[in-house]
Structures are given as structure tokens and as C-alpha cells.
């Protein structure tokens, strides 16, 4: 059993020259079979394993990761956590996530640095302000915190923001969710990994799934770069690679396109902005990390890609929008950019479901909202796997909702993934 982390353990270990720290999770070899295999050692897969063990007592579980743990989007996002959605299915789900976030560091005995510094959506026309009011009221009617902010209140909160009337798109107000915030993305993966491992889950890195084993129609395991592994249930949580993995199962088409989303960080700065802020007349969001870098991003590049690299048009667009809000940042420098591959679904909402093949469970379609969903996604997916049926919270997120006309389209863009 690994030691609890605490200020005391830090001190005690420091006195011993930090020689006694143990690996945060074991590095076991795969067993021949498990009750549940989870494909994908990202945030969602690890959270699923953790909640399977914790909530449902299912511990004979393996998480298979083709590379290093957390190498997908859990380690490539802009770390924002919020539940400020318009449509009830989304709001309920993300609010469940928010509640799990609020106790996550304790629960995992791992500081995921969830910091509820708020998320402010800026509105630039009275009509947009009304739109945000609609969303804020939708949240309030589901018991989620939301408030409108005036220009003056916004200026007090973010002094560096340009709120002048001469701006091309002047700020008229904003929608604030105070309980929203940011978390340290890698820590979420590591915390869940450690938590799952402590409950007996095998986390197997560098184990690429190369195919599915079948027992008749039923999926009964996987073939991997480290041998065949059998399982009663095989769960797929590989957002970003869903197309590839589903192809291995013989499913060629999905209501998903994989797109690249770029993110950026500036050099470290002394505290500049205390909240997450988004621009209403384009697509831009920014927060500041504890290290001081401004972390920000915008739209997806807008074409299918698995390359984890984007191109310049989005870079230019994001920086232009950034300076439209913060003209003082022109001389600050972009330090690093990177790309993540997003499962863009046909309505902008995720899929957490049983099937589509017998013995299989599917968690995908996170667009670029997957990070904040991590706890609820794992929690609901674990439920779905354990009980062979969805929880009320993820019941709307089926795979067949598209064909049935039951889409959950927060942006109202229709079957056009690049616009969600």
C-alpha cells in the first residue's frame, strides 16, 4: 500500500533525502484476462477504472494505454472546468462533474489543483447578452450557479481587459460562473491513475490495442502489442482516436470527425488575470496557470487530422482575438503551442453508451469539452459498464440519437462538426 500524501509525508521524506518515495502507480504486466478492459489511459479511461473500483467494487480491471499515460487530450488541453451549458442534458451532466471536481483532490489524496477562479463569458451586443442570460437562467433553473456581470464589475475583476466603447466589439457585459475554474491537467490523470492503482486496477502503459477478440458476435477481449487479453467487458475511451479503434472493431463510420485543436501558452508572467475569460465575437478563451503562463486557445483548425499539429491560420486568429481583449499583451510572447486531436461529434455533445457491439462500451465524442467532463464521464461510464445500462445523467448521450433526431446541439450548428 502506498503512503498517503500530505504535508507531513513531504517533510518526513525530505528529511530522508526523498529516497523513499514509491512509484505513483505500479507498472504491471498484463494478465491473461480481466473482468473489464478499458482501452485508453487518458483522463476518462483512468477515471472510469477508478470509479469502477470505488463505486462498483469491480477491481479486476486493466487500463491499456498505447503510449505513456495521459498522453492524449488530458495532457493537451487548456485546463478549464465549467458547467455553463445551455441544454439541460449537458448542464446536468457537467454539473455532476463539477460536484465531483469540488472534492476530487481529497478523494484521490492527490492535489489536482482545482481552483474555482470562475469562468466569464463576455458578451458584445445586447442580443448576445440576452443569449447568455438564457443560458445563465437555464443553469439557475437546474441549481447551477450563474450570474450576469456588468461592464463595471468586469473591469474590476479583469483590469487588463479592454472595455472601451471604441473597441471593435465593445464588451457589454458577461455571464459568470464562479464555481468554474481550472485544474492541473496532468495531475488529474496521475491522481486517477494512482487512485485506481491503489484499488487494484492494472494500469498498463505502452500496450497498444491492435484488434478485438470475438466470441461469436460478442467482443471478448483485445489483441495488443503485449499479447492477447480477454475480458468480459471491453470499454473504449479513446477520444481523439475513436475512429481508429472502432475501425479495428469493423465499424468504419461514426458520427465523429477527428479534428486538431491547437493550444498555446505564453512565457510566465506575474499574476495578470484571475479567472477564465472567453471572447464572444469569435472563439477565444484564456486563463493563467499557477506557474504564470497564460494558457489560451480558440477554434479547431477545421479539417480531419490525427497529426497533433495545426497550421498558422488558427494561430493568427487566436492571437488577434487575444489582443482584441487584452491590447497590453502585444509584447508578451507565445512560448509554446501544441495540438490535440478531438472527437468532433455531429451535435457537439458526447457519447457514453453500451455497445455498439455486444460486450463493448463506448465513451467518445468529447469535442473540445472533454477535460472538464473527466470525473463525470468516468463516473457515468463506470455505471454504464457495471450495470449494463446508462445512468440517468448519460442516458441522453446515446449513439443512436443522431439518427433519431434527438441531438443535443448546444450551438445549433447541425451535422457540421467543424462548427461545434
Amino acid at each position: 500500500m502506498m503512503a498517503e500524501y500530505s504535508a507531513f509525508s513531504l517533510l518526513a521524506n525530505a528529511l530522508k533525502g526523498n529516497k523513499d518515495w514509491k512509484p505513483a502507480w505500479r507498472k504491471p504486466d498484463p494478465k491473461a484476462s480481466y473482468d473489464v478492459i478499458i482501452i485508453g489511459g487518458g483522463g476518462h479511461g483512468l477515471a472510469t477504472a477508478y470509479y469502477l473500483a470505488k463505486e462498483h467494487g469491480i477491481t479486476n480491471v486493466a487500463v491499456l494505454e498505447k503510449g505513456w499515460l495521459g498522453s492524449g487530450n488530458v495532457g493537451r488541453n487548456t485546463t478549464a472546468v465549467r458547467s455553463n451549458y445551455l441544454l439541460p442534458a449537458n448542464t446536468r451532466f457537467y454539473e455532476h462533474s463539477m460536484k465531483l471536481w469540488e472534492n476530487l483532490s481529497h478523494e484521490l489524496n492527490y492535489n489536482v489543483m482545482f481552483s474555482q477562479r470562475g469562468c466569464l463569458n463576455l458578451a458584445h451586443t445586447p442580443a448576445q447578452f440576452d443569449d447568455y442570460a438564457r443560458r445563465g437562467n437555464a443553469m439557475r433553473h437546474l441549481g447551477v450557479d450563474a450570474e450576469l456581470m456588468t461592464k463595471a464589475e468586469i473591469k474590476r475583476l479583469i483590469p487588463a481587459l479592454d472595455i472601451s466603447d471604441s473597441a471593435r466589439f465593445p464588451v457589454v457585459g458577461g455571464l459568470m460562473q464562479r464555481r468554474a475554474g481550472t485544474a492541473r491537467h496532468d495531475a488529474v490523470a496521475w491522481g486517477y491513475a494512482r487512485g485506481a492503482d491503489r484499488r487494484g486496477v492494472d494500469i498498463i502503459e505502452n500496450c497498444e490495442v491492435t484488434g478485438f477478440l470475438r466470441d461469436g458476435d460478442r467482443i471478448s477481449g483485445v489483441t495488443t502489442s503485449r499479447g492477447d487479453i480477454r475480458a468480459k467487458k471491453v470499454a473504449v475511451a479513446v477520444a481523439g482516436s475513436t475512429g481508429r479503434v472502432m475501425q479495428l472493431a469493423g465499424i468504419d463510420t461514426m458520427p465523429i470527425e477527428s479534428h486538431v485543436l491547437q493550444a498555446f501558452v505564453t512565457e510566465s508572467l506575474k499574476p495578470f488575470i484571475d479567472t477564465v475569460v472567453t471572447f464572444g465575437m469569435g472563439h477565444f478563451y484564456m486563463s493563467q496557470s499557477d506557474k504564470g503562463g497564460l494558457i489560451y486557445g480558440g477554434d479547431i483548425d477545421g479539417y480531419n487530422s490525427y497529426a497533433q499539429r495545426g497550421n498558422l491560420p488558427v494561430v493568427d486568429e487566436v492571437m488577434s482575438e487575444m489582443l482584441a481583449l487584452f491590447p497590453g499583451l502585444a509584447r508578451v510572447r507565445m512560448l509554446r503551442s501544441w495540438g490535440g486531436v478531438c472527437d468532433m461529434s455531429m451535435d457537439g455533445s458526447p457519447i457514453i453508451t453500451t455497445g455498439p457491439l455486444p460486450g463493448m462500451y463506448l465513451n467518445c465524442g468529447w469535442c473540445y469539452g472533454g477535460f472538464k467532463a473527466t470525473p463525470a464521464s468516468g463516473w457515468c461510464f463506470a455505471w454504464t459498464i457495471a450495470k449494463d445500462q446508462p445512468h440517468d445523467l448519460n442516458a441522453p448521450f446515446t449513439l443512436d440519437r443522431f439518427h433519431r433526431g434527438l441531438v443535443i446541439d448546444d450551438k445549433g450548428q447541425g451535422a457540421n462538426p467543424r462548427l461545434h
Binding site: 482516436s241 475513436t242 475512429g243 481508429r244 475501425q247 468504419d252 463510420t253 461514426m254 458520427p255 465523429i256 470527425e257 477527428s258 477545421g302 479539417y303 480531419n304 487530422s305 490525427y306 497529426a307 499539429r309 497550421n311 498558422l312 491560420p313 455531429m346 443522431f402 439518427h403 451535422a415 457540421n416 462538426p417 467543424r418
Partner: protein, 98 residues
């Protein structure tokens, strides 16, 4: 990224609008085959590798192009006018069934 428009020559990707999976085939307008309609509207091939795509040169001659582009490397291996006939490089399963 540059796309070589057959009319305008190589142009930056900023001039183009992505119109997605070029393997989709629209059912006959009067068709009542809902499976085919659903497949056309919602289901996409999403290969890791060469992909048949439709792009519009919206910031140029505004024609639609059929582009084969590798989604792992972004390398483009062919570009043609879309109205020059539908590609058949990767037939979708839903169609085969219908």
C-alpha cells in the same frame, strides 16, 4: 498547409473551407431509405491516413475540390474539381448495405 487549386494554383489553407468526408453519397432526393439518409447526414469515414475530402476554395475561385489528404501527415496527394465526378477510393459500408 497549401492546397493546389486546379484553377488558382497553390494557396494557403486559410482560403479554403472544409466540407468534410467526400465519400458520402446523397440518396436520391425522393428516396425514403432513412438508413441511407442518416448515413449521409451523420456518419463519417474518419481514417487515419489518406482521406477523401471536399474543400471549397471559398477565398478564391469558390469551386469545390475533391482532395485526397493524409490525416496523419497532412500531405495532399491529389486535388481535382469536385464536379469532375465522385471519387470511389473508399466506399462506405452503409452504402454497401443499402
Amino acid at each position: 498547409m497549401l492546397i493546389t487549386c486546379p484553377y488558382c494554383g497553390p494557396r494557403d489553407v486559410i482560403e479554403f473551407t472544409y466540407q468534410g468526408d467526400g465519400n458520402r453519397e446523397r440518396p436520391d432526393p425522393a428516396s425514403q431509405n432513412f438508413e441511407a439518409w442518416n448515413a449521409y447526414v451523420y456518419d463519417r469515414l474518419n481514417p487515419a491516413g489518406d482521406h477523401n475530402e471536399i474543400w471549397q476554395h471559398s477565398g478564391g475561385c469558390r469551386t469545390h475540390l475533391r482532395v485526397v489528404r493524409n490525416t496523419l501527415t497532412h500531405e495532399i496527394s491529389s486535388v481535382a474539381f469536385a464536379h469532375g465526378g465522385h471519387g470511389s477510393a473508399a466506399r462506405r459500408k452503409a452504402e454497401d448495405k443499402s
